[in-house]
Structures are given as structure tokens and as C-alpha cells.
Subunit: 246 residues, 2 copies
DNA sequence: TTCAATAGTATGTACATACAAATGTATTAT
DNA sequence: ATAATACATTTGTATGTACATACTATTGAA
């Protein structure tokens, strides 16, 4: 319920951030799924007990993130989108991407192993093929079912033991626990059809459309640290890119 | 040359957008490549003859786009190592993309028609559904066979007659012939499997993996000018993205 | 010399206000 | 009935102001 939205003016957290969080939660709630109009800005600012200017700061962010659209003379409405999407700018880890959208993530599978790398992977990481590396497999998605299958391969210098907590955002953990700062991400996006293995993992049928993403991650010194493969159910995920001409 | 930065207070274009464009150009100039500090906001607002609040609107966007970083008590600086790949590099027409890869292009089909837009398209272009618009269909690829099928829908204000030469690079033609400057491109990339129609066009089999790209193109005033659908044979095309943190 | 307090500088947050522009609706005139 | 007009609503743009907070540089005392 809207009326319950409360902002703590004494909190250390800026009002516009509190408002942003509240709005994120609000538009996730069942009453706002169908592109419904929000209360107008003046009313909403009264409800939240903040100024319209401050409220607009919050809304701007949500518009930029693609959750809301505004129309002059009409109002602000929730974007009707069944699919998730990923912004190319300011890249984030998967869980950060999702939590930025207020989507709860469930891990269906999560296990690590030490393996001998394929030639391709060894080549990218710049190591020998007889050097064992850590492989991380994750099957993740929404509560109602998985929609992405990840395979990650890490460079030995990252220093992973396999004992880390892989439920936390990966790149945050790498930074905190191992001082590794993931800086550059190069991605190749393609399409393929699900084979038996992938169809089984993603709980879909063989021949279903899969958005396939290879991701090459480098640290602050442009040294390779991770080789990542992502198989996304195409009906649950859209990759978005925004660019402008010089 | 900061001092030359001039904003037209009588222009139709909002001050904050003018300022954003000026700053974009400014930070591209040689003097700002190395992470140099901009003038502080109060000075800069005086130079540009706009309020600090308005200036901050422009800077916010540039920060969000990853071109600038701000630090409390220090200042605003240009992001070092202008790696910002998606900013200026990513924006190309299909033929430019291909010629950059050294691939010769053949047009297998190319025809225009005037049609009533679907709801979705009319909504994006901001026109009524009973207004006829120009639809451009192109089937293109390598000499040995097509690998992409395009459908483009143009806003009436673009002024296309259907008599133009669509063999030349599209956005060049729009600029030269109609003074339309395509500025921003938002893309959604997904995967699907070929149905009979697409399989037939692309000379592949039903059920083949297709990389599907929706492209929304806007002019310099953020007005929509084109809605574009691209179906790529997945084994012939990979979409690459490069991004870096902060 | 060293360290802590202080002043200065620049961005961050927040509010009140005013008018412009787009949209939708109700009213009026033909 | 239909078209033109006026009006209300809502977001968009823009300014001025005030104080908070993070960082830097300087000053001064131990």
C-alpha cells in the first residue's frame, strides 16, 4: 500500500535514495505490474514527505534504469516488461544486475571443481593446459525456475580456494577477499538452440532459443582473470545496449 | 577552449541538453584526455550562463554514461583512458559494421512499402495507428548467401518518399538527403529460433538459432525516427560489447 | 619535526518556487 | 454531430538558496 511508504528524515541515508528503494519495491508489487500510473509527482512527494525535486531525483534513476517511463501531461508509469535486461554501461555482476531491479535470485545449483582447462580457456588465461584451475558452475534464476546457466573459469592468481562464499556477489567477493578488481569486460553475444544438456539444466525443451554470452573479464592491469559462459533462456532475458554517436 | 562555450538561451533545445553536448565535445578535446579536472560547478555554471542546478543535470548524465567522475571536496574529472567503447564506437550502420570487418555486402532483397503500423511501432514512434508509414525490408549478406533480414519502420517526419537510394549507407543518406541526424541507438538483443518465414528468407532450416536485434533509433532531440528489427543467422554473426567499470 | 586542529574548496543533498509544454477532457460555437 | 476552444492536469525545465559532507592545505602547538 502506498500509504505505508515512510521515509526517515533522520536517517543517514539520503532521502532520494530511500525514495528510490521504496519505489523499486512499490513497482514490483502486484498492483503495479500492468503499466499502471504512479500517483503524480506532487501527490507522491506529499505522501513521502519529500519535495518534488528530491522525488524527481529518485524517479530519474528509475527511468534511466528502464523501470519507469514518463509522459508529459499524462504521468509516470511502470514499464511493462516480462523480460529482464542487462545494460552494457557500468557493467555489473549478475546478482547486482538483478538486485538493481529488485529481482530476487535463487541459486539452483552452485558447485566448484578443479579441472584441466580446455585449450581455448588456457590460451585466454595465459596458462598451461596442465595447470589445474577453478571451475565454478552456477544455475540461477527466479524462484519459479532457473533461466541462466553459468560456467566460470578463474585464473590461478586470483587465489580462489573453492571455499569462498559464492552466494554473495562474485566481483564484490573477489575484491574484498582477494583484492582482485574486475575492471574490463569483453563480451560476445550470440544465439544457439538448446541441446539436451542445456535444455535439462534450464528446464526447457531441446531446440529452445538460447542467448549465449561469452564474457572475458580483466583486472585493473588488463590481466585476464575470468572466462565465463552464460546460457540464458531467450524468453526470460534480453540484452540491451545503448550508444550514441560521437 | 572553455571560454568559447556558448549556450543559446533562446534555443528550443533545453539548456541542460545544450550543456551536455558542449561538455561531451569539451572532454573529447585533447586537453581533457588525461583525467584532468573540469572547472568547478559554480565557475562552470557562470561560464555557461546557466544555474548550478541545471549544470548538474547535464553532469549527472555524463557521470551516468561513464564519461566523468565526481569526488566530493575534489572536483569532477574526465575518466581516464577513454576506453568508453560503447560511447562513440559502437554506433554504426550495418554496412559500416561490415565494411569495418572487411566483408563485402550483397543485397538480396530491398523494397519499400507504405503500411499501417502495428500498435507497438506506432507507440514507439509516437504516431497514430491510422497514419501510414514507410516500411523498408532488406535481406543482406555475403555473396554466397544472405545472413540478415531487416525490417525498418520510419517516422513520417523523416520525410522519406520511398524513392531514395537504399543501397547507400542508410544513416548517411538520411543526413544528406533529409537532414536527419541519427544520434542515439537503443538495442535489445535476444535469441529465437527460425520460423518458416525467417528460415526461408535466410536460406536455413526451421528451428535454426537466430540472433534477434530490436533497434530503436533517435535523432539529436531524442525524438524517435526508426524502429528496426534484425534477424541474424547465429552462425554468421556475433555481437560484441566491451565495457569497463566506473 | 610531527601531529592535530582549522579554514577553505568542491561536490552532495534538499527545498521552495515559477513557468513551459504536452496531453486529455470538458465546453462552446457552428 | 462535429470541430474549435478553453481549461485542468501532469511532467519538463530552470533558478535561487541553504546547509551538509568529504577532501586538501595550512597553520600552530607540543
Amino acid at each position: 500500500m502506498i500509504m505505508k511508504l515512510k521515509i526517515d528524515h533522520k536517517s543517514q541515508i539520503p532521502l532520494y535514495l530511500q525514495a528510490e528503494e521504496l519505489l523499486r519495491r512499490l513497482i514490483e508489487s502486484p498492483e503495479y505490474v500492468d503499466g499502471k500510473l504512479l500517483p503524480n509527482e506532487i501527490e507522491l512527494s506529499k505522501i513521502l514527505s519529500i519535495s518534488r525535486t528530491t522525488l524527481r531525483q529518485s524517479i530519474n534513476k528509475l527511468v534511466y534504469d528502464g523501470l519507469l517511463t514518463r509522459k508529459k501531461g499524462v504521468g509516470t508509469r511502470v514499464v511493462e516488461s516480462k523480460s529482464l535486461s542487462s545494460k552494457s554501461k557500468n557493467w555489473m555482476s549478475f546478482s547486482q544486475e538483478m538486485s538493481a531491479r529488485g529481482i530476487p535470485i535463487k541459486n539452483f545449483e552452485l558447485h566448484v571443481s578443479w579441472i584441466l582447462p580446455e585449450k581455448k580457456i588456457a590460451s585466454f588465461l595465459g596458462i598451461k593446459e596442465d595447470k589445474k584451475i577453478l571451475k565454478l558452475v552456477r544455475l540461477r534464476g527466479r524462484p519459479e525456475g532457473p533461466f541462466v546457466y553459468f560456467e566460470s573459469y578463474f585464473h590461478p592468481t586470483v587465489g580462489l580456494t573453492g571455499e569462498e562464499d559464492y552466494k554473495t556477489p562474485l566481483y564484490e567477493m573477489l575484491e574484498k577477499e582477494h583484492g582482485i578488481i574486475a575492471m574490463v569486460s569483453k563480451e560476445e553475444i550470440s544465439a544457439l538452440v538448446a541441446d539436451e544438456f542445456i535444455a535439462n539444466k534450464l528446464e526447457t525443451n531441446i531446440g529452445a532459443a538460447i542467448l549465449f554470452r561469452k564474457r572475458f573479464v580483466y583486472d585493473i592491469n588488463e590481466k585476464p582473470i575470468e572466462y565465463n559462459l552464460g546460457y540464458y533462456k531467450a524468453d526470460s532475458f534480453v540484452y540491451t545496449v545503448e550508444s550514441r554517436r560521437e
